[in-house]
Structure formats: C-alpha cells, structure tokens
Symmetry: C2
Subunit: 125 residues, 2 copies
Amino acid sequence: MAFDTNDDTMSRSETYDLISSEKVDGTAVFNRNGDKLGTVHHFMVGKRDGRVRYAVMSFGGLFGMGERYHPLPWDVLTYDTEKGGYAVDLDKDKLEGAPSYERGSEPTYDRIYGEQVYGYYGVPY
Amino acid sequence: MAFDTNDDTMSRSETYDLISSEKVDGTAVFNRNGDKLGTVHHFMVGKRDGRVRYAVMSFGGLFGMGERYHPLPWDVLTYDTEKGGYAVDLDKDKLEGAPSYERGSEPTYDRIYGEQVYGYYGVPY
C-alpha cells in the first residue's frame, strides 16, 4: 500500500495518515461489499524495522464462535479513508478457515507461523 | 534499520522481533552510554503503509520539567536486543531543545510538523 500524502479525499480527522498505536483498537474491518466483519484488536510491529506485519482482528460474534483473533498479513488490508477502516477482499469461508486463536492462547509470532499465515492468504512472508 | 531474522543474539522472549501495539508503552530508551533516558509512550503509525513514523517518548522527571512527550523519528532509534529497549545517539541538550508537547496538547502530525521534527534530528522526512 503506497503512502500518499496527496490524497485529497482524506478528511481532517484522519490526522494525515497517522494513527497512535494506542488507538488502533476498534478500527473497523470491512469486506468488499462494505459489510463490517470485525475490528482491529492490535497490530504486531517489527521492533527493529518499524513495519506492521499483522493487523490482528477480532471477529467475535459474527460467526457465532466466541471472540477469536485472526492475524491478517498487512498486505491484505487496504485503508479506506471514507469508511475510516480497513477493507479486505475475503469471504466468510476464507476467514472461518484462517489461522486464529483464542484470548490467552497467543501463538509465537516466529517465521514458521508467519509463513503459515501469510501462505494461507497467498502473500509472501 | 534492517530486519534481520538471523540475529542469533535475539532472546526467546523477544518473540522474533515483533511486539504488539498494546505493549510498546514502557519500552526503555537509552543513550549511547547505556543510561536510561525515558520510555516509549506510543508509536505513530501510517494507516496506509503500516510504517512507524515516530516513537513518542515520555521523558518525565528526568529534566525536572514534568512529563513531556518527545516524538522521535523512527530512524534515530536502534533496537538493542540485549537491553530490550531502544538506543538513541542524543545528548541531554539535544533532547531538551527538541520538539515536544504536554499531555493534552498533541500536535497535528502533518507534513509540516514531520519536516520540523525530522529536520531537528537531521533525518529526511
């Protein structure tokens, strides 16, 4: 996703494309039809390179399976300024079968897990 | 700063270079002598490109001027795995004169502010 400071559709409240790490929790996630799928719970960020690797979504309730966390590779997300959230091109079946975990059962975010999750979504780790 | 997955000095607890956005608060910041200067309060992250632009440090107490937030360009930070924190090559005078703000007086993180802050530290915005 390119960084575009000339996006004249960007609203004043968007604070010029930056968001505090304290405030990512709750950002909406939509599918391509505009239906809300869930919300961002947190980002996983590289301590050295400062790159977000995953947006970890919570999709609790939607599929009736309690709150679960789905780590999504950053590259499958597109920020939608008008909606103020992220769009993903994923259907329900794809998400239901995706790597996920329950609260308190966080995975080790190592390379093996990275390749598994990124691989599921068809993007290179 | 390069992303290096082959860093064999990385401890197991470092979770392979990733940190949750929920947990950046409190990460220590050291100078080159190893003296602790303060802690990370939050990151400012590009919503579109997923890049951390600033680590906002709180240096409260150290200089006897109450808690102030100093946004530091990402490029002036180096993650120190052994210390589990960030090293910066900045002396006290440089930090005291740096762009900063008090709680509740957050700046608008736009391009003008970015050029001001990055310029102060001598790195391109």
